[in-house]
Assembly symmetry: C2
């Protein structure tokens, strides 16, 4: 049987790798590297460093171009579903053609494979198409955990919930919630959402890396500073990955 | 200056430890072990194994009894606040008396210090009392990440949010939410909450350990099986730590 591992490798700091993930990498015959375009070159390099540090000798790497999502489509969910299906074609090819019987292949996923990552769903889709393999998921430090740790704050208050959501949904998901983590926010929704103005924000970009930027304070006081820092960093590096926690006074 | 580390050590599998956490343990002079009573002996043993595997020679350990929470009080938040303050007394004593200048002391926290753990808040309270030290938080694999990985499922669907909450709040937090993670549920709220009956549940106890139990399915089909498995395990081991994801069809 072929074996596929979906390995969470943490949020950007090579030290986020777990011992379990390091052992899984050491047990991998083939690494599937999905090139997502020039803007993520830093991440590809960091992933290669992790492989170099932990993989066994010999191992193979197969690099392919990950299909791009149609970012012009207004139908976000449908565009992502179509993108996922095209990615499944690519992943099915990798597992069918590049992985031999009794070998282990691995996809290395930034953060935690359970949070806003589609690798599990894509691999499930490949399995549903009848490609024969076993697979396993290894959890990783999410960018949310890394953000909270670097700000030395908790995501949850005593006996209270936390919501994890996207920039697009922030206004709605702030309703009735006092602790909200936002990922995938390209438009600084915190600054455009009146209900967020009095919240405390704990914002971070490139968390855990040498480029890390951390800003916290009341949204009304620091929103402009965050927007500026984010735009500057994006211009300098060509890409930005950020997330934030909003915390309102408990009612 | 004294240095205090709050180190997330993962959800029960020693392999959850990150390289960063292992290095932090190797750099620690004094480990503060808080004995929470007989029911958690397995966890104390596992923590000692982690220290034995990664700490430097020599190192010190200081074991104290963590004050107990008044579980008879109906005022949950106040009881927890009082408990926190008594714990701060204990932690302040440890940092003042057991940690010398320029030494590093560490609290090892199960899961991720950012999720339903009060160590950060207690250490903040100690600092606010004027005890002089620096501190740092090292993220860990949360039981939520471990649960999702073992069930090979994602916590989030495309562009959709997830809520993390407690058993006590489940009924309210299911309003308007399709993906809800529940922690700290001693009363199997999923089985008592009518709105949950049609949800899919991904339940796990002792996730990542040799005692791991995983059950998934529709709540109405597996609720009794989970309640039985949970009660049996609790009777056998004297304690149980479990969590679950509820997923309803996307509206």
């Amino acid at each position: 049987m072929k074996r596929v591992l979906i390995i969470g490798i943490g949020a950007g700091d090579p030290g986020h790798l777990t011992l379990q993930a390091a052992a899984a990498i050491a047990g991998t015959d083939v690494f599937f590297l999905l090139d997502k375009g020039a803007e993520k070159e830093d991440l590809i390099r960091l992933r290669r460093e992790i492989i170099d540090a932990h993989a066994r000798d010999p191992h193979r790497t197969v690099q392919v171009t990950d299909p791009e999502r149609d970012r012009t489509s207004p139908a976000y969910t449908e565009a992502v579903a179509d993108w996922r299906s095209r990615r499944a074609d690519v992943y099915a090819g990798l597992i069918s053609d590049e992985l031999r019987e009794n070998e282990t292949g691995a996809f290395l996923v930034w953060g935690d494979p359970a949070l806003y990552d589609s690798t599990i769903a894509i691999v499930e889709e490949v399995a549903a198409r009848g490609v024969a393999f076993d697979y396993e998921v290894i959890p990783g430090i999410s960018s949310v955990s890394a953000l909270a740790a670097r700000h030395r704050t908790s995501l949850t208050r005593v006996a209270r919930p936390v919501r994890i959501t996207t920039g697009r949904r922030l206004a709605g998901d702030l309703e009735g919630a006092d602790d909200v983590v936002v990922m995938l926010d390209a438009h600084c929704a915190f600054a455009e959402t009146p209900q967020a103005a009095d919240a405390e924000i704990f914002w971070g970009a490139y968390v855990g890396t040498a480029d890390e930027i951390l800003i916290s304070g009341r949204v009304r006081d620091v929103a402009d500073e965050i927007k500026r820092a984010r735009a500057d960093a994006r211009a300098r590096k060509g890409w930005v990955m950020d997330s934030y926690l909003l915390r309102r006074p408990a009612r």
